[in-house]
Each structure stands twice: as structure tokens, then as C-alpha cells.
Amino acid sequence: MRLVEWEAKALLRSAGIALPRAERVATPEQAAEAAAKLGGPVVVKCQVPTGGRMKAGGIRFADSPDEASGIAADLLSRPLLGHEVTELLVEERAPGGSEAFAAVAYDAAEKAPVVLLSLSGGIDLEASIGGSLGLARQVVDMTWPYSAYQGRELAARAGLAGAQLVAAGTLLQRLYGIFHEYDATLVEVNPLVWSGKGFLALDAHVELEDEALYRHPELAARLGIQPRSTQARPPTPFELAAAQIDATDSRGVAGRMVEFDGYLGLLIGGGGASLTVFDAILAAGGRPANYCEVGGNPSVRKVRALTRLILQKPGVRRLAVIMNVVSNTRVDLVARGVIKGIVEEGLVPSEVVTVFRVPGAWEGEGAKILERYGIAYSDRTVSLDEAAGVAVARRG
């Protein structure tokens, strides 16, 4: 989950990192009040969970409360980079000066966290995790507590000295502390400026791991940070319905249902095979109605509900059932669920199912059930690509 700026800064503040004074506002009037209270020039910033706000015009400067109010009205009037703008941060304008960059992230090649520090701002973090010029990088050994002396060592390598070196050591230790304590996958401060007395974090980007949110109730309780969906776009009603079906029955997984606008419904699985089959369907010229990952031995009820959901989607007339050679999913249960779902929708199974390719346990039984409804069972001698080809070819 990507935090918006004020949320990320709440974490930084709780760790003792210095920030510009700021107010959260939701109306132009509040923006004017905040600017008056802060005094002097301010920055008005859209609170949306994405990068590139400055370039997209979502961060603007105001010299008076009136100007802040006008800018706020403008920013609140339309979405930014696909996100509704409901909240702004009005922040005192920080002193100018050279901008630095500090971050903690995981490096999959090192299989460990890395701490990064650069004295030049505008760094591309993605390119930096693996190491790049002008950037000091330190791999963290998690069997040892990350300490300020390690931060100072990195600061020295980045080219800092004196008071700045000492301050950076503490700052890096605190950033690592946030990263570790809150199960973050990224904590980035960019830009970081020297105020003369200490470092000031002007903007922050924090990503928390979805799988670990359950163990951080303090985020909501203490800092007001609520968990939310992390997909690139909000889920559609179809996707929400699929998630509901998945949640109400613990047997099997109906993961990652994503809606597309084609005619061909897909019941595909598991994780890797779904990616492979979706590619193959597109390559064969098919237009899928959805993506999904079915697996983990789903119950008849779950398969039935998913089948019905897909067939209820406007314009969906065909269904392809394709999975890799399964290890623990029972083929007969999948067959039963598919047939039930189709019949309950008042449709004819042999007309709806273009291909059924699920090799594995109880496949003999599954084939018999399908045969009764006039559906040919494709066994393990039919490749995923061939199955996708058949699924697309049978349109009539």
C-alpha cells in the first residue's frame, strides 16, 4: 500500500525526523486559513498515492492565503493522475539549497534491505536499488540492529562530513527503524534539505506491505492511516463480487479476478499458468472478459458462483476452463461447479464451454461428467497453447 504524503510524513514525525510545518485541508477556505496560520509563502500539494505530482501540476506554490485558496479550489476541482483529489497539504515553503536523497528498500538480488544515500536529488530510485553512480549504498545484515554508526559510515561514503555526517547517521537509523517497524517495502525521502541545523524531509514516499498490514493496527489507531486497495485503479463491481465469492468460502482460491471487456470468460489457474494462458488467448486473437487465478482445490460451490458471475457479465457468451497440470485441485469438482453454474444461468453447457483443459487428480471422473453434457475433455496431451487456440477458434 502506497501511503500518501501526509501519511508517510506521520511515520517520519513519529520517528523524530524533522519536517516543514504543514496542515491537512479539504476546502479552499481551510487552505487559506492554513496559509495564514503558517505565515509566509506556502506549497499546496495534492494528497494522492502516486509519484509525478509536481510534473502533473499537483504541487503548486502560493505567496498569500488568497492565492493558496485559489490554487486549492483549482486542485480540488479535478482528478490528478487518475486519482480523486479530496485532500491537500498546505506546507511552509522550505529553505532552498542542495537537495539530497535517502531511502531504504529491499534488494531481491541481495535478499536483504539496502540503505541508499545520495547528495544529488532527482534520483531514479528504481534504477538506484541495484547501485548507480553518485549513490552510496549499504546492504543491511538483519541479524544485527541497524545503528547510527552504520548510517555515518554510509554518509561518509556519500561525501558528507562534520555536523551533516552526524545528522545523516541518525536520520538513516530512523528511516531504517520506520522501514523495519512498520513492515515497509520502501521508505524514501526525496528531497532532503539541510536547514543549517539539521536535515528536513520535504517529501516522503512510503510503501507498506499488504501481507503485513494485519499486524499494524497502530497505523489506524495512532496515526489515522487506514488500509485501502492498492491496485492501479479502483476495483470494479465485478471484481468486488469475485472477491466476495472468494472470501465467503475458504476452500480453494479465486484470486486476482480482473475485468476486461471481451466476450470470452476465463476460468484459469494457477498463478503462472493464468499468465501463460492469458498471453496465449491474446496471441490467438481472443478477447477475454476477465483474468483470474483459480486453484487450491476450490469447492463446487465456489466454481459454480464464479462461473455464474462471469456468465452474468454483459456480452459474455463463451467460457474457457484451462489450468496447468494440477497438484491438489480435483478435476471432477471443477467440472461439476462449471456445469452447475451454466445450467443455473439457463444456458447449455456444450454451447458455452469452448474448452475444458484441467489435467490432474480425479480427471477420469471429471471427463465423465463433462461427457454427459456433451463437452469434450482435453487431457494433458493438449498443451496450454493448443487449449487457448481451441478456446478462441470456437466462437459460433
Binding site: 501481507e211 503485513a212 499486524r215 491496485q231 480482473v258 498463478g271 496471441a283
Partner: protein, 304 residues
Amino acid sequence: MPILIDETTRVVVQGITGREATTFVRHSLDYGTRIVGGVTPGKGGSDVYGVPVYDGLAQALAEHPADAAVVSVPPSAAREAALESIECGLGLVVIVTERIPRRDVAEVLAFARRRGTRVIGPNSLGLISPGKVKLGMIGGPAEDVRRAYVPGPVAILSRSGGMTTELANLLSQAGLGQSTCVSIGGDPIVGTTFADLLPLLEADAETKAIVIYGEPGGTQEEALAERVARDRPRLPIVAFVGGKFVDRMPGQRFGHAAVLVEGDRGTAAGKVRCLRDAGVLVADELAEVPSLVRRAMGAGREAR
């Protein structure tokens, strides 16, 4: 000789009384795996298909020395179960649990590095040396395993558990058996990567070719390509990368936790390009893999 495991490997299962674990214990025993003990705190003194259950790993190992552990516990308990295996000195720890927080994974791997323990996974379906031994869910019931996996010269390394079996089946259908097949795990950080396994397979006389299943997200395929370009391995490598459509949908989650394209990083197209540049044969369609393997192995023989 297979890598990592063989028919002499003695295995303990952590979380042995869980639903998934009891299932794969049955299947693994049927396949010939030597499961000598299991652990579920609070269930000590019971047994699972004749395998004795202990409250802690140290107690289990005191009576039944072992070489490898399979960790199959809920995500919130996985860190401790893995650390217990590492502290007890097991050389190989296979973590099948999915959705373990990344911090826990990285911490486990840090301790594993310190102790010299090899970790496979997390989010691995297991590994198998066909005809000899299997660890974890991989392949399902013994009779299904025997239908999909047959002994032979091709190693399979896969970021997807299901695709490990799909590839084995595809190769077996084409008359190409397998030496060792590893579901390396679908998480962003895994204990053993493609590149980590390459030197082990290079040293294995039985293996004549390697098949890789890759996905968008992360940089494992790129790291392998770099290693191949640098070390010029004797073994030909055939790769297939699933999820090419994901490249066009940045920020949207598909597949395993690791499958997330961010900016230009981790795209399927980029991985295919890197692998090809390094001399790896990349199949455009999955079904092409067996013929590419045959061609690569034939070319290898001619070169010698």
C-alpha cells in the same frame, strides 16, 4: 545424481498436522520420501500416517536425525519455524507457506546465510527428483507425480509451482525426463534464485539442459542472464516467460506477489531480451519448449 535432495535425504515437516501438510506427507511417503518426524507445538506424541509428531524441532531431531525441513505453517508462524530449522542446523529448509511478510523472509534469510543453510522459497510448491524423492506439494498424489514427472536429463527451475508440473508434463510427453525440478517460489524475495542454482546444476553430471519458467516483476531473469553471459555455462538453457500482457498494465497486480511491473523495470519483454542476448533460448510459446530443449542438447553433443 540430483541436486539438493536424493533418496537418502531425511526430512522433517514443520506444521505436520496442518491440512496441507498432512496431504503432502501422505503423497510424499507414497512417493518414497523419507519423512522421519514432524513438529506441531501442542500436538507432541501423536502421529501423521505413522510419522511421529513432536512439540519442538530439537526434540524431534534428538530421536530422528534429519537433513532437510519442509516448513508448512501459517504465515504468522513461518519466521519462527524457519529460524528453528536454521538453528537446529538443517542444511536445507523448504518454505511452502505463502503470504509471509517480506521482513520476516529477509530476516530468515539473513540468519540462514550466517549459518550456511540453504532456503528454498517461500511460496514454493516444493522440489522433486523424479523417481527418487519429492518435498512439499509438488505434483500432488504419487500416481499423479509419476504421470507428470519421469527421470531424465532436464532440470526445471520455476517461479510458479503449477508451471513446474506443467513443464515436466510437457517434457515427459515429448520423451524428455527430468533430473531435478525446483519450484523456487513466487515471492519478491526468495532464498534461492535461478542464478544461485546454476552452479549446482553445472556440477551435476546427470543434468544436460535447464528449463526456466520466468514471470514479470523482479530481476531474477536479468540476474541469470548476467551470470550466463559471464560464466558461459556448459548446460544449454531454455526459458519461457509468462505474463507478457502484464507489461501493458503497470501497477496492476497479477499472478504471484512478485509479479508487478513498475515503470520499465521487470517487464516480460525486457527479461526475454536479456535472456536472448545472453544466449538463452527463449520459447515464444510454451509448447515450443521441448523442441528447443532437444535442439539445444543435440547442439551440445555436436560441439563436443
